[in-house]
């Protein structure tokens, strides 16, 4: 079954309350997000999910050369970074978009839906 990455972006340096107007709103969003994730599991869509620590905690590694070069910080400099994601299975894009709409409502963020590559994505490379 096709797999999709549903990713949520957030501010580079989220404050104590993240994007949320109040503590209560934040807790409610967390509860709704957890409920959404449970639903994905119940209905057989769930593959994996997680929330990420702030982008400021990232390290970028370039292993091209003789010794790896380490850089403190994310790969791209941006105002918003990937904050969390779900990997889901859905029969087609319509279903994936419907799931994303619910996830977006639950987490109060916009969601990017992106399909994973499959073997069909590069049949010419797999030719014997």
């Amino acid at each position: 079954m096709p797999r999709y990455l549903l990713s949520v972006h957030g501010p580079a340096e989220p404050g104590e309350l993240g994007n949320y107007p109040s503590q209560d709103a934040m807790l409610q969003a967390f509860a709704d997000t957890a409920a959404f994730t449970e639903r994905l599991q119940r209905e057989g869509h769930f593959v994996f999910a997680g929330g990420l620590a702030p982008a400021t905690t990232a390290t970028t590694v370039d292993g091209h050369g003789a010794t790896p070069v380490l850089t403190d910080g994310p790969y791209l400099v941006a105002k918003e970074y990937l904050g969390g994601f779900w990997v889901v299975e859905a029969p087609d894009l319509d279903r994936a978009l419907a799931l994303a709409a619910e996830g977006s409502k639950a987490c109060r963020g916009r969601i990017e839906v992106r399909p994973f590559q499959t073997e069909d994505s590069f049949p010419h490379l797999l030719k014997p």
Partner: protein, 394 residues
């Protein structure tokens, strides 16, 4: 045929190319061997074989498995008949909301309209490579993101159909009042939009908005011949030669509008945007002259439309009818409230200029015409506005 093969093989490129190959084969063989007893069936069978050959060539690894699976496709035909059903699936795929609007338009014209990339590029005044790229990207997305070949479920169909209708109407509008280039009307686009509208109506005969959209396009297109003068100037509704209107198209459009009025009266869903716009155009095309138009009915229809769609453009058009019922000063007061929203829109300034002219405020009218001329992209419309401006007294 493309739709049918696309459903079966799940790949637009394969479907399109196999269809083209089948037609080439027909051109080569039919003159030599004679036309087969069932030409349509022959084409489908040939295209199916070509598609399978193609898939075999492209992925030898599991070709046998794939071909076996496809050859055993014995999906029972659905009530609407498999061919129509496949075209409908293709409509919804081409107009999928996950595709950018430009991509939907290009894909619909290419796959449903059968226009070539060159024809689409010419109609939209962009380079062929741009259109080709739009189509290639859209097809790649359909494939990679698994956009389904499916008629949406009952709960989604109205919303998705609205997207399809807007693509068709967008094509029609660009043809009817081209926003750029030298041709004021692009008949290739209006004809294609009407053809698509007819196709939708055949596929979904009971849908009120689909019927309304077709009626609307027919009633607008009926006036095409009288809309641009011999000197290439736009002729507004009140000055058009009504004898040059296409009576057959008007009769067809009126019949569709009557059908919808009866359906709504019989307890059907209330009319949506296209049905109301079609009704407005039915009132216009039923009048022997601009003066004899039932303007109060038009205002009432615009009132209903404004309840569905409170967009400033709807209120601008309503004001044009208000001017006929309550006079230009009432209309001008309504229009001036829209200045903030419509300042960059040529029709706002053109309407304002006309109302100011009728109120004898020549200086202000001239300034409004100047603004309208500067913003108008259509050559016939610029010519018309320029003449009206130059006719102003003092």
């Amino acid at each position: 045929m493309v739709g049918r093969l696309a459903r079966r093989f799940g790949d637009l490129d394969v479907a399109e190319e196999a269809t083209a190959e089948a037609f080439v084969a027909a051109v080569e063989r039919w003159p030599r061997d004679g036309v087969p007893p069932n030409p349509g069936g022959w084409l489908v069978t040939t295209a199916t074989r070509k598609a399978i050959d193609r898939i075999r060539r492209e992925s030898q690894r599991d070709a046998r498995h794939q071909a076996a699976q496809m050859l055993s496709d014995h999906t029972p035909p659905e009530p609407t008949g498999p061919v129509q059903d496949d075209r409908l699936r293709l409509v919804f795929t081409c107009c999928h909301p996950a595709l950018a609007v430009e991509a939907r338009v290009a894909l619909t014209l290419r796959l449903l309209g059968g226009l070539t990339v060159a024809e689409i590029a010419h109609a939209y005044l962009v380079r062929e490579t741009t259109i080709a790229q739009r189509i290639t990207r859209a097809k790649a997305k359909i494939k990679a993101a698994h956009i389904p070949y499916r008629v949406p479920s009952a709960e989604d169909i109205r919303e998705r159909l609205a997207g399809v209708e807007s693509v068709v109407f967008l094509v029609f509008n660009e043809g009817y009042l081209a926003s750029g280039g030298d041709d004021p009307v692009r008949v290739d686009l209006t004809d294609e939009a009407i053809r698509l509208g007819r196709l939708l109506h055949t596929l979904l005969p009971d849908d009120g908005e689909v019927t309304g959209l077709l009626a609307l396009m027919l009633l607008i297109d009926a006036r095409r011949r009288s809309r641009v003068s011999r000197t290439g100037e736009l002729v507004t509704l009140d000055e058009q030669d009504r004898g040059a209107w296409d009576r057959a198209l008007i009769a067809e459009g009126h019949a569709l509008v009557r059908e919808r009025i009866a359906a709504v009266a019989a307890g059907g869903e209330p009319p949506g945007r296209y049905q109301l716009l079609a009704a407005i155009n039915a009132v216009h095309t039923a009048a022997p002259s601009a003066r004899d138009t039932e303007w109060s009915q038009i205002v009432a229809l615009y009132d209903r439309l404004a309840m569905l769609d409170p967009a400033p453009i709807v209120r601008l058009n309503r004001a044009v009818a208000v001017a006929e019922v309550d006079g230009p000063s009432v209309a001008l007061a309504e229009i001036d409230r829209l200045a903030g929203a419509l300042d960059g829109y040529h029709a706002f300034h053109a309407t304002r200029a006309d109302l100011l002219r009728r109120l004898g405020r020549s200086g202000e009218s001239r300034a409004a015409y100047d603004q309208a001329i500067a913003l108008a992209g259509n050559p016939a419309e610029r010519a018309y506005l320029t003449r009206r401006r130059d006719q102003l007294a003092g």
